[in-house]
C-alpha cells in the first residue's frame, strides 16, 4: 500500500481531513455533524497515515496513547455536565455564553460543545485503539 503517490497525497489530504473533522465538530450543535462523526473523520486521517507509512508513525503523530485520549475525552464530557451544577442547575444542564469578536457576529459557546469535544476524543481514541491493535496483529 505504501507507495510514493499515497505517501505524498496523504501529507496533503490528512490535514484537510483533520480540518474537516473540526468543522464537523463545531457545527454539530445546529447542523449535521457533531463529536461522533468528527471523531470518525479525524480517525480516518490517522488511519490513512498508518496505511501510507506505518503504525508507529501514526502513533507518534497522535502524541497520546489511544487509551489516554479516550480517558481525556470521557473526562471532558463528564466535566461538561458539572459546569451546570456549579450554577445550581441539575447535572448536564447546558450553560451558554457569547463570544464577541470585533468584525464578526457574536459566537455562542456552551457546555454542549465541551461535551461534543469529549465525544470526539473518545471516538478518536477508541477507533485508533482498535485499528492499531488490528494492524499490529497483522504485521
Amino acid at each position: 500500500m505504501s507507495t510514493l503517490i499515497l505517501r505524498t497525497a496523504t501529507r496533503y489530504v490528512a490535514p484537510l481531513m483533520l480540518l474537516f473533522s473540526i468543522y464537523l465538530l463545531l457545527v454539530g450543535h445546529s447542523y449535521p455533524g457533531g463529536g461522533f462523526v468528527g471523531g470518525l473523520a479525524a480517525s480516518s486521517a490517522f488511519a490513512l497515515y498508518a496505511l501510507a507509512y506505518d503504525v508507529d508513525t501514526a502513533r507518534k503523530l497522535m502524541h497520546l496513547s489511544p487509551v489516554s485520549l479516550s480517558a481525556i475525552g470521557l473526562l471532558l464530557s463528564a466535566l461538561s455536565g458539572l459546569i451546570g451544577m456549579v450554577h445550581g442547575a441539575p447535572y448536564l444542564t447546558g450553560q451558554w455564553t457569547s463570544l464577541d469578536l470585533p468584525g464578526f457576529d457574536p459566537i455562542k459557546i456552551g457546555t454542549p460543545l465541551l461535551f461534543d469535544l469529549g465525544v470526539y476524543l473518545v471516538v478518536l481514541g477508541v477507533t485508533m485503539g482498535i485499528l492499531f491493535a488490528l494492524a499490529e496483529e497483522e504485521g
Binding site: S68, A71, L74, A78, G84, M85, A89, P90, Y91
Partner: protein, 497 residues
C-alpha cells in the same frame, strides 16, 4: 440533594476515568479504588439518610422536565440498593488489592470495576425504562470483559455462556421496551404508571409484562432460565465472582420489583401468581442443584439461584410485609453472598483448589477463617440471630397472613436443604481430617489483607441480625413506598395521579 443523587453514578465514572489515565500505575489505581469506593459508600449512606428523612428525591438531568427528559429518581429501595452496591464495591476493592493479581490489574481491571458499579447504581436510580436498558448494557459490557479478563480456558467457556444468555435477555428487554413505547407513547416510569391506569389495551400489557418477566428472569437467574449462572460464576478470579454474585442478579431482581410494583400491578395484569410459582420452582431447583455439587463456588452459585427465589417470593405475595421481606432479603443476601464467595476465594488462594474432596482440616490450619465462614453460612441457612433468619421470618409471616401454606412449606424445606449444603461445605472443607497428602499450603500469597473485607462483611451480617428492628422498619418504609406509587409519581411528575 441534587449533587448527592447524581454522585453514585458520577463518582464511579470519574474514578474509572482516573484509573484509565493512570493505566500504567497499578499502585495509584489501587489507592483510587479503595479510597473512591470508600467515599462512595459514605455518600450513598448520606443519600439514604436524606431520603429517609425527606422522602423521594428526583433530578431531571439537563433540566429537561419529566416525562420528556431523563430523570434520576431515588426512593428508599433505590437508595438501599445503592448503599449495598457501594459497600460491595468497597469490599471488592480491598479484596482485589489483597489478591494482588498483577497480570489482570495491568489490563484495566480497576476501570472496569468502577464502570460496573456505575452501571449497577445507574440501574438502581434511573426513572426511565429505556435508560434502565442502557444501564444494564453498561453493566453487562464491563462484566463480559471482567469475566474473560485473564483468558483462562474455563473463563472463556463460562464467559461465552454468560454472554450468549445475557444478550438474548437484552434483546427481549429491548423488544418489550419498544412494544411498551408503542402502546403507551412514553418511557418515563412514573408517566408509564399513570398512563397504564387509563389504557384499554390490557391484553398487550400482559404480553409486555411476560416479556419483561422473561428478560429479568434471565438476568436474575430464576427458574427455568438460571443455568448460565452456575456455568460461569466459578470461573473468574474470586474478587470478580464475589462482585457478580453480590450485585448482578440482584439488579434483575430490583428491576422486577420496580416494574411489577409500579407499572404491572396485580390489578392490571395477573402475573403475580406466575411469579409466585416461579419463585417456588427457583428455590427448589437451586437448592437441589447445590446438593449435587462438590466444588465450593459452584455450590454457592446454585445457592444464589435458590435465594433469588426467596426475593421474588415476596414480590409474588404482594403485601407490604412480603415486599419488606424481599427488601430485607436483598440486604442480607448481597452482603452474605459476596462474603461467602470471598471466603471461597481465600481458600482457593491458600490451598490451590475449591474441590471439597481435596480440601480438609481447614478448621485446624485456618481457625479464624473457619469462624468467619460460619457467620455468613449460618446466616444464609437462616439460623437466628443472624440476618438470614429475620429475612426468612418476614417472608414466612407474610405468607401466613394470606394463608399461602404451600409457599411456607417450600420456603422452610429449602431453608433446611440450605443448611444441609452449608453443613456439607463445613464438614468437607473445614471439619474432616486433611486428606493425605494434605493440600500444599501456598505461602507466596499473603491473605491477611483479604481478610479485612471478609471481617467487614461478617460484621455487617451480625449487625443486621442484632439490629433487625431498625433494619426492618427501613425495609417496611421502602415497601410502603412501593405499594403506594402515587408518592413516586408525584415526586417525578410534580402532579398527583
Amino acid at each position: 440533594m441534587n449533587g448527592l443523587l447524581i454522585a453514585p453514578v458520577l463518582l464511579p465514572l470519574l474514578l474509572g476515568i482516573l484509573s484509565l489515565l493512570l493505566w500504567h500505575h497499578v499502585r495509584a489505581q489501587r489507592v483510587i479504588a479503595v479510597a473512591g469506593t470508600g467515599l462512595l459508600t459514605l455518600l450513598s449512606l448520606r443519600l439514604l439518610i436524606g431520603i429517609y428523612r425527606h422522602g423521594i428525591q428526583v433530578v431531571h438531568l439537563g433540566n429537561w422536565e419529566a416525562p420528556f427528559g431523563i430523570s434520576l429518581a431515588a426512593d428508599l429501595l433505590g437508595a438501599i440498593m445503592v448503599v449495598l452496591a457501594s459497600i460491595t464495591g468497597f469490599a471488592i476493592a480491598l479484596y482485589s488489592v489483597g489478591a494482588n493479581e498483577r497480570q489482570r490489574e495491568c489490563f484495566g481491571y480497576y476501570p472496569l470495576v468502577h464502570i460496573l458499579i456505575m452501571g449497577v447504581n445507574g440501574a438502581f436510580l434511573t426513572g426511565d425504562i429505556f435508560n434502565l436498558y442502557v444501564w444494564f448494557e453498561v453493566m453487562l459490557m464491563s462484566s463480559f470483559v471482567l469475566l474473560a479478563l485473564g483468558g483462562e480456558k474455563p473463563q472463556i467457556e463460562g464467559g461465552v455462556k454468560y454472554m450468549a444468555l445475557n444478550f438474548f435477555s437484552s434483546v427481549i428487554f429491548l423488544t418489550a421496551v419498544g412494544l411498551l413505547y408503542g402502546v403507551m407513547g412514553t418511557l418515563n416510569l412514573a408517566d408509564l404508571a399513570v398512563k397504564v391506569r387509563g389504557t384499554e389495551s390490557t391484553g398487550m400489557l400482559v404480553v409486555i409484562g411476560c416479556l419483561f418477566l422473561a428478560s429479568f428472569g434471565i438476568k436474575a437467574a430464576i427458574f427455568p432460565l438460571f443455568f448460565w449462572l452456575p456455568a460461569s460464576y466459578h470461573t473468574p478470579p474470586p474478587a470478580v465472582s464475589g462482585l457478580f454474585a453480590g450485585l448482578l442478579t440482584k439488579v434483575g431482581v430490583y428491576a422486577m420489583i420496580r416494574l411489577f410494583t409500579l407499572i404491572f400491578t396485580p390489578d392490571l395484569v395477573h402475573l403475580h401468581g406466575l411469579i409466585l410459582g416461579l419463585a417456588a420452582l427457583t428455590m427448589v431447583t437451586g437448592v437441589l442443584g447445590a446438593a449435587a455439587q462438590f466444588e465450593f463456588r459452584r455450590i454457592l452459585s446454585f445457592h444464589i439461584v435458590s435465594q433469588i427465589g426467596y426475593m421474588i417470593l415476596g414480590l409474588g405475595l404482594f403485601t407490604p410485609l412480603a415486599l419488606a421481606g424481599s427488601i430485607f432479603y436483598l440486604m442480607h443476601h448481597i452482603i452474605v453472598k459476596t462474603n461467602l464467595f470471598l471466603i471461597a476465594g481465600i481458600v482457593h488462594y491458600r490451598f490451590g483448589t475449591g474441590e471439597l474432596k481435596s480440601l480438609g482440616g481447614l478448621y485446624k490450619t485456618a481457625p479464624w477463617l473457619s469462624l468467619l465462614f460460619l457467620i455468613p453460612a449460618l446466616s444464609l441457612a437462616g439460623i437466628p440471630p443472624l440476618s438470614g433468619f429475620f429475612a426468612k421470618l418476614l417472608l414466612v409471616m407474610a405468607a401466613v397472613d394470606i394463608h399461602a401454606w404451600g409457599m411456607i412449606a417450600t420456603a422452610l424445606g429449602v431453608s433446611l436443604l440450605t443448611l444441609y449444603s452449608m453443613t456439607k461445605i463445613w464438614n468437607e472443607a473445614f471439619w474432616k481430617d486433611a486428606p493425605t497428602p494434605p493440600p500444599p499450603a501456598r505461602t507466596d500469597q499473603s491473605t491477611i489483607l483479604m481478610m479485612i473485607p471478609v471481617i467487614l462483611l461478617a460484621t455487617i451480617t451480625v449487625v443486621i441480625g442484632f439490629g433487625a428492628g431498625p433494619v426492618f422498619r427501613l425495609a417496611l418504609a421502602a415497601a410502603n413506598q412501593l405499594m403506594n406509587p402515587s408518592d413516586y409519581i408525584h415526586a417525578v411528575l410534580g402532579v398527583s395521579p
